[in-house]
């Protein structure tokens, strides 16, 4: 492992992180080294900056056409700020967001308006994101006021009713007010508003976390149906990892303003190499009571440190069980660790990136043993795999989790 670690310490140029082939299609959004700091000031008359909340601190990724990129992480990790900066609702401190090659942060006026039409957002909280004094028809139709070219005045009512129908609400509800709907229905209104301008990218910020399980499934299906129908690209921000896995083609894991690991859903969920991802995945409650004894959970101690004063070096080191001196000095870059191969070889920002060796419970061992006995002659696949894993000493337990 030490050999591999030294190999990584060679400086990796920024932006070179994206050499790996990702799903086909042209990138519709390119985000490079995006930074968003919120200044902390002191003084009333003469304001002096005493620091900054580093909400997003150097994030890079691509979003391709028709793709869903899931972004997961704990609250306070900068997911929602990232969404706002992508929408240009908050100006970025530095870095670039390109929509079809065009730099968003430099646009203004009509050009910005045109780009914004194509990037829409579905917000987290359906209770505060809908104006209580407006009817549903006005809420969903409001985007048409700004972009009248999408639906001429006479057709707006019809367009809104179609949208209501598309998101599974009764078109007759057009004159109702938000308080007359349940939380789930309100979120559908939010989705209808996001769809109104027929955008190419929709940024969904926790779109289903406020919904009931049965309704969540409906909304997820709806989002997938709409994606196929209109070739939408989604940035899907959520903390429910099983839903993110279901809907996403690629998944990025954020911690304290940094992307710590990014890869295809298979790479992240079954071959996570960053300790934070592993802890996050192991903490997800599994809806199967039989898994109670079998689970090997990493319970992280403590809370996320303050983004105003993040730890030096690797930001996760204060909660990491693998942390060493090096982690405090040198910041790990998001790159493919050279010592890993197969599905484990995806971008991971850890000096000691490795797949997790699951400590097997007695029950699991028993199952494996009986399997081994049954296929004793040939040696079972699992066994050979395990043996191979032990040889190179890094990648083991492919069937982790």
């Amino acid at each position: 492992m030490t050999d591999g670690a030294t190999a990584l310490s060679a400086p990796v140029p920024q932006g070179a992180a994206f050499t790996k082939p990702v799903p086909e299609g042209e990138p519709i959004l390119q985000i490079r080294d995006l930074v968003k700091h919120f200044p902390l000031t002191q003084g009333v008359v003469v304001k002096k900056q005493i620091g900054a909340v580093k909400a997003v601190d150097g994030v890079s990724f691509d979003l391709r056409k028709g793709e869903t990129l899931g972004i997961v992480g704990e609250s306070g990790c900068g997911k929602s700020t990232l969404a706002k900066v992508l929408m240009n609702l908050e100006p970025a401190t530095s870095g670039s967001v390109r929509y079809k090659g065009e730099e968003i942060s430099r646009l203004s006026g009509a050009a910005l308006k045109a780009v914004r039409r194509n990037i829409q957002m579905v917000f987290q909280d359906p209770y505060t994101s809908l104006n209580p004094r407006m009817t549903v028809g006005d809420i969903i139709g409001e985007p048409y006021e700004i972009h009248p070219e999408v639906a001429p005045k006479g057709e707006r009512r019809k367009a809104v009713q179609d949208l209501l129908d598309v998101v599974g609400l009764n078109p007759e509800y057009i004159n109702r007010y938000p308080h007359q709907f349940s939380g789930g229905q309100r979120q559908r209104i939010g989705i209808a508003r996001g769809l109104a301008l027929k955008p190419e990218v929709i940024i969904c910020d926790e779109p289903v976390s406020a919904l009931d399980v049965s309704v969540q499934a409906q909304v997820i299906n709806l989002l997938e149906k709409l994606q196929n129908e209109f070739e939408l690209s989604y940035i899907f921000i959520a903390h429910d990892l099983s839903i993110v896995r279901h809907i996403s083609d690629r998944v990025g894991v954020m911690y304290l303003g940094k992307m710590v690991e990014i890869g295809s859903d298979l790479e992240i969920y079954d071959h996570a190499t960053h300790p934070y991802t592993q802890a996050l995945l192991s903490a997800v409650p599994v809806p199967d009571p039989a898994a109670r004894q079998v689970r090997d959970r990493i319970v992280l101690t403590g809370d996320v440190p303050s983004p105003a004063d993040p730890p030096s070096g690797c930001r996760f080191r204060t909660r990491c069980w693998k942390a060493q001196e090096r982690c405090a000095i040198e910041e790990p870059l998001l790159a493919v660790p050279s010592w890993l191969d197969g599905l484990a070889a995806h971008e991971s920002a850890c000096h000691f990136a490795a797949e997790r060796e699951i400590e097997q419970s007695a029950a699991e061992r028993e199952i494996e043993q009986s399997a081994a006995e049954r296929g004793a002659e040939g040696g079972t696949e699992a066994e050979t795999e395990r043996a191979a894993g032990q040889e190179d000493g890094s990648a083991d337990g492919d069937d982790a989790r």
Binding site: R245, V284, R292
Partner: protein
């Protein structure tokens, strides 16, 4: 900590009530009288919890799970909410027949509640120490100094680091997970026999959720408390519950021990809920979704309330309200703790 001396019933009484349920809710009815009409939020709910047992109440919003808990706690907003029938038997006494003052003595010292949103449940203008100490000052008449010492002890118990230094801090100075710990500490303060946790981890991140649920389970074991866990998260339920009651439109539609419920649900609604969880082998496919929306409580459909959304609905479902049938195995022996309010529970079970 000494036992609750001011409580109406001495603590020793628990010893001989261990076998009989700690709390038994019988045929509870709650309605909300609103301008638009009467919303029947709870329509004949029965459940029981024993000491040391965890009962999970699973249901969507509007299923009446929280209202039932509020009725049990006696914190139902009234008006518009009214308990119109049933019994809430706690340690052998029907709480609904108690006067206001007696009820207040039970609340906090013998049963306590943990709310979902710790930030809005805590008073922002009082320090957490004084809010924790209030339990001792009000219920036990402790002095301010004693109350503060107890508050620090409690904060230590729920593993808030540097409790002594943080006892004077205000709720906004704590993180979400820490706030929820303070809520738990407050509920535990007088060592109640029953804790009702209403979506205790819904607002928390998964890593913090794991910490809080572990803490709750550990403390429950330590104090041998009954725990009613109200949630919509099938994952959390699978982790901690002993038995489950599934609620829909103000009724319990299925009860079962946790393993059996997940393995063989006997109600189409439970089955639908379980099927709508994203599974690995369904990646890229459409998720199973229960069609439609939960019913409006002002207009609960006739017959089985689930019939407009049910894939198995027949004529009888639209006319006759299914009673809570006892679920039996093929030989006809009842399965302990299992019941289903579906005319076709047998067919659902065999699916």
């Amino acid at each position: 900590m000494s036992s609750s001396s001011t409580s109406a019933q001495p603590r020793e009484a628990t010893a001989d009530t261990v076998e009989s349920p700690l709390l038994e809710v019988r045929d509870l009815h709650v309605e909300f009288r609103t301008r638009d009409g009467v919303a029947k939020a709870v329509n004949g709910v029965n459940y029981s919890v024993r000491a040391g047992e965890t009962l999970a109440i699973l249901g969507e919003s509007g299923s009446g799970k929280s209202v039932t808990a509020q009725a049990v706690m006696g914190i139902l907003d009234s008006p518009p909410g009214f308990v119109t029938g049933g019994q809430i038997v706690f340690k052998g006494r029907d709480l609904l027949t108690l006067g206001k003052e007696d009820r207040r003595k039970v609340r906090g010292s013998q049963m306590a509640m943990i709310f979902q949103d710790a930030l809005s449940s805590l008073n922002p203008v009082h320090s957490v120490g004084s809010q924790l100490g209030e339990m001792y000052r009000v219920h036990k008449g402790s002095s301010r100094q004693d109350a503060k010492a107890k508050a620090i002890e409690l904060m230590d118990r729920v593993r808030i680091p540097a409790a002594k230094a943080r006892v004077g801090d205000y709720p906004h100075q704590f993180s979400g997970g820490m706030r929820q710990r303070i809520m738990i500490a407050m509920a535990l303060a007088l060592e109640p026999d029953l804790i009702i946790a209403d979506e205790p981890t819904t607002a928390l991140d998964v890593t913090v959720q794991a910490q809080v649920m572990d803490l709750l389970a550990e403390l429950q074991g330590e104090y041998h408390m009954g725990l009613i866990l109200i949630t919509h998260d099938l994952g959390v339920v699978a982790d901690v519950a002993d038995k489950i009651a599934v609620m829909y439109a103000g009724r319990i539609v299925e009860t079962a021990p946790v393993h059996e419920l997940y393995a063989k649900p006997a109600h189409p609604y439970t089955r639908g809920l379980l099927d709508s969880i994203p599974r690995l082998d369904q990646k890229g496919q459409e998720l199973y979704a229960i069609k439609g929306l939960p019913p409006n409580l002002l207009r609960i459909p006739p017959g089985c309330a689930f019939n407009p959304r049910c894939p198995r609905a027949q004529e009888i479902c639209r006319t006759t309200v299914p009673p809570l049938f006892e679920v039996t195995d093929e030989a006809g022996t009842p399965r302990p703790g299992r019941a289903s309010a579906c005319h076709f529970w047998k067919e659902t079970l065999d699916d």
